[in-house]
Subunit: 210 residues, 2 copies
DNA sequence: CCCGAACTTTACCGGAAGTACAGCAATGTC
DNA sequence: GACATTGCTGTACTTCCGGTAAAGTTCGGG
């Protein structure tokens, strides 16, 4: 066998560069407003070169969503792990995690995640069934991830009023997503951070006795 | 002067029919995915006829946003008025209003408001500055509407932790908007209603002592 | 030396936005 | 009864974009 230890020039460069360039452009301008030509030019290839890597634009959307789901999953896993290090109590873990999430959102000047996802929702017909399915999976994954946490919290800290842990998870999701929308609409990136922190306070209020 | 009292055949029919048809189509498929031709055909006019009423597609978006801002404003005003009838306490009014809003969202199978607004945010470049400005105004109007309410609530019912009334208003906005996004993504219209009700419970927990 | 991967170039199709303009029918107005 | 305005229709054209097709190029590896 030949020695394969030396790394051949960074694998899959072009495809990944397309993804990176497309991601930035889409965050800034939206999916539909970003043309294939523009992406190709920015990457330094021809339009046909783009279609060599992706059968169509929807395939790009799918790849972007998949990549983001992985990235978001890793980020949340990292935050959860850190929170678990800092406290044994599930409520405290959640509050720590929410603060960490708020901090994470802080340094993102306009470049929020989830835009392609949200975009796909409001531009239904522009995306094929696979894209929408990927989208749905990612939302349900978020619910699954946090539902258990909220159930664990409720077991130790009876809430002031009974709530469904799935709904709590969805609310967290909605606050983040809605926070992004409102932030962008008002053109004030801080809104998202403040939403996150406010949601944290409300979760605390919900699960702590007077 | 001529007698102008007799109403000439219902004024602005065609323009309004365009708006109605476009609204439905955009809710279902998205703004970009809805072609001018399609709208014109559905209305029963030619493509050129459409451009007689609107200089371009952006003008349609603007008109739609304006119409929706008015409609939403009236709906919220109605709900607030009803809540004020039912209770003198600002907290109770808010809780009543949130329940009424949840009920309002209940009978809407997929056809949620705000889609054009949200769509505009994620498809930045497809819309001109006027559309985005209209959007921003509508979000700030929402904040202004509810900020005062939350301030009044806090004055009578000290919250368990100090919160900014503007942030509370934005949170409500974010829950609704995010709820729409999540609902659509998961393909479960009930999510939005449950979010609203859950947010209500959390507001209650926030402003009532143990 | 040839193969396949990763492209390029060129050319083309169809759909959609937007422009321009000529014309036409109905509804008033003078 | 002539005339003008409103609210369109129809046609033709431009530009941009996604997508397809196909032939050619470059280059590294077996």
């Amino acid at each position: 066998m030949s020695v394969t230890t030396d790394i051949p020039p960074p694998r899959t460069t072009t495809r990944e560069r397309i993804l990176a360039v497309a991601y930035d452009a889409i965050i800034e301008k939206g999916f539909e407003a970003t043309s294939v030509e523009e992406i190709a030019t920015a990457v330094g290839i021809s339009r046909a070169g783009f279609f060599y890597h992706f059968p169509d634009k929807n395939a790009l959307a799918r790849a972007l969503i998949d990549a983001q789901v992985v990235e978001e999953g890793e980020m949340l896993a990292g935050i959860e792990a850190r929170a678990a290090e800092l406290s044994d109590d599930p409520l405290q873990q959640m509050l720590i995690a929410m603060r960490l999430m708020a901090e994470r959102y802080h340094g993102m000047p306009g470049g929020y995640t989830g835009c392609i996802l949200a975009s796909a929702i409001f531009q239904d017909r522009l995306f094929d069934a696979e894209v929408k399915a990927a989208n749905q999976r990612s939302q349900l994954a978020f619910r699954a991830r946090f539902s258990g946490k909220f159930a664990a919290i409720a077991a130790l800290h009876p809430p002031r009023e009974a709530v469904d842990p799935d709904d709590m998870a969805d609310l967290l999701n909605a606050v983040i997503t809605g926070g992004i929308v409102v932030s962008r609409a008002i053109r004030d990136p801080d809104v998202l951070v403040r939403q996150m922190l406010l949601a944290r306070v409300m979760v605390k209020a919900m699960y702590t006795p007077g």
